[in-house]
């Protein structure tokens, strides 16, 4: 099955990615091949029929969940250490030329 340009644009919007026209051309062809590759699971054996609840088969019991005890948070300077904070806030200019 060939994936349409509109579908790719829809996916790109969800994924917050943008492609130039030339990139989109190239990408669509590659993506087609990748989807065909993913489609091969439909030729394979049936899996079980239950709803999947979690990829790991392990479960944890209520008693082993984390107790509600305060752990110290990190200082503001650390939290902002990878950006230029503004008065303790993360900040983004709403538009920038």
């Amino acid at each position: 099955m060939t994936i349409s340009k509109t579908e790719i644009e829809k996916l790109a919007k969800l994924a917050k990615l943008s492609f130039s026209d030339e990139e989109l051309e190239r990408f669509t062809a590659e993506f087609d091949e990748i989807i065909a590759f993913a489609d091969t699971i439909n030729q394979s054996i049936e899996g079980g029929t239950e709803e999947i609840r979690n990829v790991s088969a392990r479960m944890v019991s209520f008693d082993d969940l984390r107790p509600d005890e305060v752990a110290s948070s990190l200082p503001n300077e650390k939290i902002l250490s990878n950006v230029e904070g503004d008065n303790g806030f993360f900040s983004v200019e709403r538009s920038k030329k």
Binding site: R53, V55, M59, V60, F62, D68, V70, S73
Partner: protein, 471 residues
Amino acid sequence: MNYEIVCGIETHVELATKTKIFCGCTTEFGGEPNTHCCPVCTGQPGSLPILNQKVVEYAIKAGLALNCKINTKSHMDRKNYVYPDLPKAYQISQYDEPLCEKGYIELDSGKRIGITRIHIEEDAGKLVHENGYTYIDYNRGGVPLIEIVSEPDISSAEEAKEYAEKLQLTMRYIGISDCKMQEGSMRCDVNLSLRKPGDSRFGVRTEIKNINSLSFIRKAVIAEAERQADILDAGGIIVQQTMRYDEGTNSVTPMRDKENSDDYRYFPDPDILRFSIDDEKVEEIRSSLPELPFDKLKRYVNVLGLPEATARLIFRYRKVAEFFEGALAEGASVKNTANLIVGTIFSNMDTEEEKELFTTRISAAQSAALVKLADEKKINIGVAQSTLQKMLESGKSVEEFIKPEDLVGISDEELESLCKEAIDANPKAVADVRSGKDKAINMLFGYIMKKTGGKADIRKAEALLRKLIGQ
């Protein structure tokens, strides 16, 4: 044209746990921006969520209090969308295996509003837009929420308000949240559609957000029902959209799109193990619940005999109810205790907040000691009220203010022995009463009044005398 209102309410309740749902940061309100944060709640690369046990416990309490079935196996899902207040670009929530399902809230009319589901999820951070910048504070990010979804069983604005009120009271009662709409610890979104009476299909519905109080819920439902009715009457169609309620103009207007109808691509969160709770534990949690508010109200009215209006004033605050019941446990009477609380104690409390907290300088037992004196008619109500006020202001017990000499009236035992004395001392009068000369009883009254300096309760004395005389 008459239309039927079909309404459901989605409520987000902030849980009053000490820490966030997936990390040990404090949930304390306020604080300088980004000071209650860590790698987990700011979505740093390499961080992982660790589920808080209390969150599950509180959600189960909510489910039990709302008559839900508890799912003893549950898991978390990722809800993927991009927005600056969501640090991981996904919210960890529950999609197809919510912790609680299929409960109800009973309205005063006896009608039950169904509760479809209750699930746990994390809150997002806070955005502030100013001066061409967007500022983000993640202190609130990761605070635990439960989302309570009702069935579309609500059919009027009054029912909508009542549902929300009862929900709020119940959540406060079981101690899982302070549910303050103005502070955002309880947020209601109203879904509403109209249909012709008797039609079983659903009309197109709109969602109304940004409702900040219980009375605005009622107003918003009325406003939106009117708006939709006008459109339908004119032959138009309702557009499915998100609306916001504007308090100033009492109107409902379309909200600017925050997110377009995103495909959230839910899938089970691989970082969080599926969790289970056994039935015994659920029962343990159930037995740790206090008497639920509306059960309490029924008991106050039907069993204790309190007038409904008074009962409502007391039951709606759990601490007040506890104080009231504490005094009763010490032997104080229902009527006097209730009246003194509602009259005197409440007159010292101006706000709802104060009544919620119900901090008094005296204990229920101290109160009971005072009330019992009034019960036994040793002091009259006026004295009781003023003494109570002095006790509240000073924190001192009743003995400080009322000495034995001040006691008006006499005890029942004393009265009984006085009556016996009067009978022994006036055999002729007794014989006269027995033979039909009823006025003779006045002699006995006189004797008792003289002996008590006029303080005896005449009606009680009469009843006792007649009993002792044998009539």
